[in-house]
C-alpha cells in the first residue's frame, strides 16, 4: 500500500511528465535494451537517463534497468521510451512466445536451475 506521502508520486510525475505509458511501439518487461554506442547524448540529460545509458552498454532487460534505477517498471518504461525516441537506446523484441523458444534453450534453463 502507498501511504499518504505524496512525495514519490510527485517525483515520478516529474520523470515521466505524468505519463503511464511509453512513447512508440510497446515493449515487454524483459525486452533487451542496448545503448546506441554511436549516439551523441545531449549534455543536459537527467541522472536517470544517464544511468540507463551507462547500464545498457551491456544489453540489459527492461526489468533489470528498473532494478538499477530503483524505479517501478512502468515508470522505467516511460523513460526508456523517451530514450528510444531520442535514438539513444534500442529495445529489442524478446522471443514472442514460449512455444517459439527452441528446446535447446529449455534444456539449458533446466540444467541451469539444477546447478543453482
Amino acid at each position: 500500500m502507498t501511504g499518504e506521502d505524496p512525495g514519490p508520486l510527485v517525483r515520478l510525475f516529474g520523470l515521466t511528465g505524468g505519463r503511464a505509458r511509453p512513447l512508440g511501439e510497446s515493449f515487454d518487461l524483459v525486452a533487451i535494451v542496448t545503448t546506441v554506442s554511436t549516439s551523441f547524448p545531449p549534455s543536459d540529460l537527467i541522472p536517470e537517463h544517464l544511468a540507463v545509458l551507462s547500464v545498457c552498454r551491456r544489453p540489459t532487460p527492461v526489468a533489470d534497468v528498473a532494478a538499477h534505477l530503483k524505479l517501478p517498471l512502468n515508470i522505467t518504461r516511460v523513460i526508456l521510451g523517451d530514450l528510444r525516441r531520442e535514438g539513444l537506446v534500442t529495445i529489442d523484441r524478446p522471443q514472442p512466445a514460449a512455444q517459439a523458444i527452441d528446446e535447446r534453450i529449455y534444456r539449458e534453463v533446466l540444467h541451469g536451475l539444477r546447478r543453482l
Partner: protein
C-alpha cells in the same frame, strides 16, 4: 565457417534472451518469499502505478498518473549464463489487475500458481486465467505447517483441474524446493515428463475455456 571461427566472440553472439516465469496466488500465500528464496539479486519489490483504465488506452496527454492505483510486484532474476536469464514476476491474481497480467503473460514461459490449502479458493482466478490463456502452469501448494500431508489429488479435484497441469508440494522458504517447482514448470512447458499422481488425460475437454 572459417571466418566465424577465426573471429573470437563472433560464434558467441547469440542474441541475449530473457525468459519470464509468473508467480501468482492470493495475498499472503508466499509469492514474495518464493521470489526472494531463489533470486540472485535482492528481489525488487515495487508498487507499480497503474492507470485505472488499463493498458488498452494510449493516452499521452499526461494525466494518466492522476488516476492511478498501485499493485505490488516482486521481481527476481536467475542467470542461466551470460545472455540467458530467467525472470520471476510475482503479483496478486486479482480481477482488477488482470490487464497487468495480460501484459506479463505475453511471451511468458509459464506460471506458478501458489496455493494455500486453507484458502484454496483464492487461487481459482489465477488457475482460470492461465487455463484460458493456454499458458502452461503448475500449482504449487505452499506447505505452511511444514507437514507434507496435503494430498495433491484432493487439491486437483478441488481446483477442477483437468489432470494435465502438475501439482507439487513446496516450501517457498526452501531453495531446493523452489528449484524443484521451477524445474517442474520448465519440464512441463517443454512437454516433458513430470511427477504427478495422476496420469495426464490425453484429450483435455475444455468446454468453457477458449484459449487464444
Amino acid at each position: 565457417m572459417d571466418y566465424a571461427a577465426s573471429e573470437p566472440g563472433v560464434a558467441e553472439v547469440t542474441p541475449a534472451m530473457a525468459l519470464k516465469i509468473l508467480i501468482a496466488g492470493g495475498f499472503g500465500v508466499g509469492k514474495t518469499t518464493m521470489v526472494g528464496t531463489i533470486s540472485e539479486i535482492r528481489p525488487l519489490h515495487t508498487e507499480e502505478l497503474l492507470s485505472e483504465r488499463g493498458v488498452g488506452v494510449d493516452d499521452t496527454s499526461g494525466v494518466e498518473l492522476k488516476t492511478t492505483t498501485t499493485v505490488a510486484l516482486d521481481f527476481g532474476r536467475i542467470t542461466i549464463r551470460e545472455g540467458l536469464w530467467l525472470y520471476l514476476f510475482g503479483t496478486p491474481g486479482q480481477d482488477r489487475f488482470w490487464f497487468m497480467w495480460d501484459e506479463l503473460a505475453v511471451g511468458a514461459l509459464g506460471a506458478v500458481v501458489l496455493a494455500d490449502t486453507r484458502r484454496l479458493q483464492e487461487c481459482f482466478p489465477a488457475v482460470d486465467y492461465f487455463e484460458q490463456r493456454g499458458l502452461p502452469f503448475v500449482v504449487a501448494v505452499n506447505c505452511f505447517d511444514g507437514a507434507r500431508r496435503h494430498d495433491p489429488v484432493k487439491v486437483r479435484r478441488a481446483l477442477g483441474l483437468d489432470g494435465v497441469a502438475p501439482i507439487v508440494l513446496c516450501d517457498v522458504r526452501n531453495r531446493e524446493s523452489v528449484k524443484d517447482v521451477l524445474a517442474t514448470l520448465v519440464t512441463y512447458a517443454v512437454g516433458g515428463p513430470f511427477n504427478d499422481p495422476l496420469p495426464p488425460t490425453p484429450t483435455p475437454s475444455h468446454s468453457h475455456a477458449s484459449p487464444t
